[in-house]
Symmetry: C2
Subunit: 241 residues, 2 copies
DNA sequence: CGCTGTATTGAGGTGATTCAAACTATGTGG
DNA sequence: CCACATAGTTTGAATCACCTCAATACAGCG
């Protein structure tokens, strides 16, 4: 359901994740300009779709609250999860060139997405070079993530990398906790990592037994980040997002 | 070795792969402007490096001729290949945000790289919005590739996808041949796909026996593209690069 | 012509998948 | 608020795919 941002008191300058968003490097005045140009927000209940694969693409979306799963269904009917988006993430960059969505986007919990029309984004990029470099940064960071997972050769590494990725991203959101709640199911994780969901479960169990994490439903408490990082693929990332 | 582009008669308007490069969507006049602003080209012999991981990043590079391997060495001393770049590819997009190279870049054969200084690229993007969307396009295509490989769960698929990827990219270069010469070794391929080099070899051998390809040294003749595509992960790509 | 890196092949072990079944959460409607 | 249905998680056993190790063959290059 699409609502007015103003009616929900959504304002870029007060947003909890403004340091991750497109406006990150703008002055207060410039943020105000952007804010005034973004009218709408999409409110989704758990399980509702923002768009489907092959839909024409009209907007980028910024996750204002909640989380989403980006996926497609292959020729054999398997769900392939491309990415998960958390609060503060930008959805849709890959699809800009052809203006058609590659993927479907479904809410994993109650979620709201700020709507950034494509023509606005092109205008903003031109008007504010820092929006442009912000977008390059986000695209670049995504490429790093994809490449990181691509090189995780075995199941333990993949799952460790996955948890670390979520952890790091939550920490960027200034939630410096070691307790994280995964919004997605283990099946979703397996579809994202390209492995059997039983294997995901067994790796999590093993990490639990080895006291690297504790598992309670979808709550994960990371007890020993160092050992988890030692299990994962060494990071090539030198800086922050 | 760095030379003047003019001294080697390198000119964007006459380039064999201009339809892949940053200037793709520019008018002849605009291409001329860009060309005049790109002074240098780096000439590498096989095995020479353009840069090393952690070097400060000053430029993007466009592969004018030849091919390169982008890699890093992990904590255990393993070479991790991130990507191969062919004629017409753009190198370095991932590293823009922090202005430091994540990877090392080595020539797989005699190679020349047009040098695009970072400040030029920002200026060009601002001056010509189509350069900006071209860059997003390239980034988008890279993300698709990485995600594609990420979801190739088994060895047959990975190798099939790899060959197809090279094939498609060569075809974009308007070399509509079914005979392709891989510039990299099987060991490089295995390091890129995250599998044992013996497995790469066995898969290639199997494709050979099943008369999907023929193998002769680094020459691959693709006999049956349809069957190769059937082996690979279904593509989600709707359009061309 | 020999050296070095690359490709090829086989045997054996390990790790991940598959299939099957039981169990536990979560959500819905009566 | 409970009963039921459904979705998600957990576990075991059998199978299969890939990796590791080892040995040999080949190719390119000085």
């Amino acid at each position: 359901m699409i609502k007015k941002r103003s009616s929900l008191n959504v304002d870029c300058s007060k947003c909890l994740v403004k340091h991750l968003c497109l406006t990150r490097d703008l002055s207060a005045e410039e943020v105000g300009y952007v804010n005034d140009n973004l009218a709408n927000i999409m409110v989704l209940k758990k399980g509702e779709h923002a768009f489907h694969a092959k839909d024409p693409m009209k907007n980028l979306y910024a996750v204002h609250s909640g989380s989403c799963k980006e996926y497609w269904v292959d020729a054999d009917g398997n769900e392939c999860v491309n990415n998960f988006y958390l609060q503060g993430d930008i959805v849709g960059l890959e699809s800009i060139p052809i203006k058609q969505h590659f993927f479907s986007l479904v809410a994993l919990q109650d979620t709201s997405l700020c709507i950034v029309p494509l023509n606005s984004i092109l205008e903003l990029m031109h008007k504010f070079p820092s929006v442009l470099s912000r977008i390059l940064n986000i695209a670049s960071y995504k490429m790093q993530n994809d490449q990181h997972i691509k090189l995780s050769t075995n199941a333990n590494r993949r799952v460790a990398d996955f948890i670390l990725n979520i952890l790091y991203r939550l920490q960027e959101r200034q939630i410096y906790k070691t307790h994280i709640t995964l919004p997605m199911t283990q099946l979703d994780i397996s579809n994202c990592l390209g492995m059997a969901h039983e294997t995901v479960n067994r790796v999590l169990k093993k990490l639990n037994q080895e006291k690297i994490i504790t598992l309670e439903n979808k709550m994960i408490h990371i007890i020993d980040v160092k050992r988890l990082e030692a299990l994962g693929t060494p990071l090539r990332r030198f800086g922050q997002v």
